[in-house]
């Protein structure tokens, strides 16, 4: 079966079948978006909460522009907004960096931004595996809508 790898600040779509995978999410968040009826799935790997770039060269780096652009692309392929659901993983705090709040909690701010953007776009979150201090690899099966989170130490969790 086809496996598509999504890098940092990247997004890929698949229809009917295929596994979307993104490796080692730390403070980054992986957002799986899925239309169950026509089996279109997308996975976005965002790194920062809000796009404040002037020329917006890398929309998938940010939660707001990344999610919105992905939804638009899914709709262009025939997905319906009302059917799209989301599963998210990531947003960890890898190092307990002292002081400096803005550096320390990027993961948490990413998750908050993802929540807010999904709520504004009317997308329901089915499941999430967020926070903590461990890296996650995220697999998303486009045929079934099932997600799998793999963490260090051979631990796998269903998403």
């Amino acid at each position: 079966m086809e496996k598509l790898t999504i890098g940092i600040a990247d997004m890929k779509l698949a229809k009917n079948q295929g596994t979307l995978v993104t490796y080692a999410l730390g403070s980054c968040v992986g957002i799986c978006l899925w239309d169950h009826l026509i089996k279109i799935g997308a996975l976005v790997h965002i790194m920062l909460p809000i796009n404040m770039e002037t020329n917006r060269t890398s929309p998938f780096k940010y939660a707001d522009t990344g999610i919105r652009l992905t939804l638009t692309k899914m709709e262009q392929m025939g997905a319906r907004r009302a059917r799209i659901v989301a599963k998210i993983a990531g947003g960890a705090k890898m190092f307990n960096v002292p002081g400096n709040g803005s550096l320390g909690n990027i993961g948490q701010r990413n998750v908050e931004s993802v929540h807010q953007v999904l709520r504004m776009e009317g997308i329901r979150i089915l499941k999430e595996d967020i926070g903590g201090s461990t890296a996650r690899t995220l697999f998303f099966d486009v045929a079934t809508g099932e997600g799998t989170v793999k963490v260090y130490g051979n631990v796998q969790r269903k998403l």
Partner: protein, 207 residues
């Protein structure tokens, strides 16, 4: 005119950074050498300006497990310094320091983890001291923190911190050679763009 992005650096500036890196890493090698009681060398360090995904691949892949020691730099420049140790490197260090080795990362107890942090700390502080003396820039590294996990997630920490400025990150670092054996330990200096400008300015090669 100052740089807005890492990828705008010219070859003279990159050479100068490589030179700083070389001095920083050789100081770090000397201190590691006296700690371990063996010869430690670092071949000419590399300065690379890479796109995020390339940077992680370059350092050995996303899912590779490493012990990472990170220190946040403040003072006249802002940035982060990250030391990555593979299991071979950890075992070599532990063997020399406390006469013990482990077969997996999860066997590391508090004492062994603090030994790893300490080595990371020594490498980072000697590097920073050398950099500071050379440029006259005041830099204070924070208390180092350790994590043992997929290294991709650790390398993205400085990327996320300065990701608003660029899709590229500057990696300055080298691999250590202890008693002619290469140990997978990497030292990375990741300043933000503003600090890089200041550093280049202090070296007299800013634009």
């Amino acid at each position: 005119m100052s740089l807005n992005r890492f990828e705008e650096m010219n070859s003279i500036q990159i050479d100068a950074l490589r030179e700083i890196g070389s001095i920083g890493t050789s100081h770090a090698a000397t201190s590691l050498s006296s700690l371990l009681g063996s010869e430690v060398r670092i071949p000419l360090p590399e300065v690379k300006i890479l796109e995020f995904n390339q940077a992680v691949e370059e350092l050995g892949g996303f899912e590779t497990i490493s012990a990472g020691v990170i220190s946040v730099l403040s003072g006249q420049i802002n940035g982060m310094m990250l030391a990555l140790f593979g299991l071979d490197a950890i075992n070599l260090l532990l063997d020399r320091m406390i006469g013990k080795t482990v077969s997996d990362y999860n066997e590391l107890t508090d004492i062994e983890s603090s030994a790893v942090i300490e080595v990371g700390n020594i490498l980072i502080s000697t590097f920073i001291n050398a950099l500071s003396n050379l440029t006259g820039v005041k830099i204070s590294p924070s208390v180092p923190q350790v994590a043992i996990d997929m290294q991709g997630a650790m390398i993205t920490v400085p990327m996320a911190a300065y990701g608003n400025q660029s899709n590229y990150i500057m990696l300055l670092g080298g691999t250590f050679i202890v008693d002619n054996k290469t140990i997978p330990c990497k030292l990375l200096l990741a300043p933000d763009v503003k600090s890089l400008n200041y550093l280049l300015y202090c070296l007299g090669i800013g634009e």
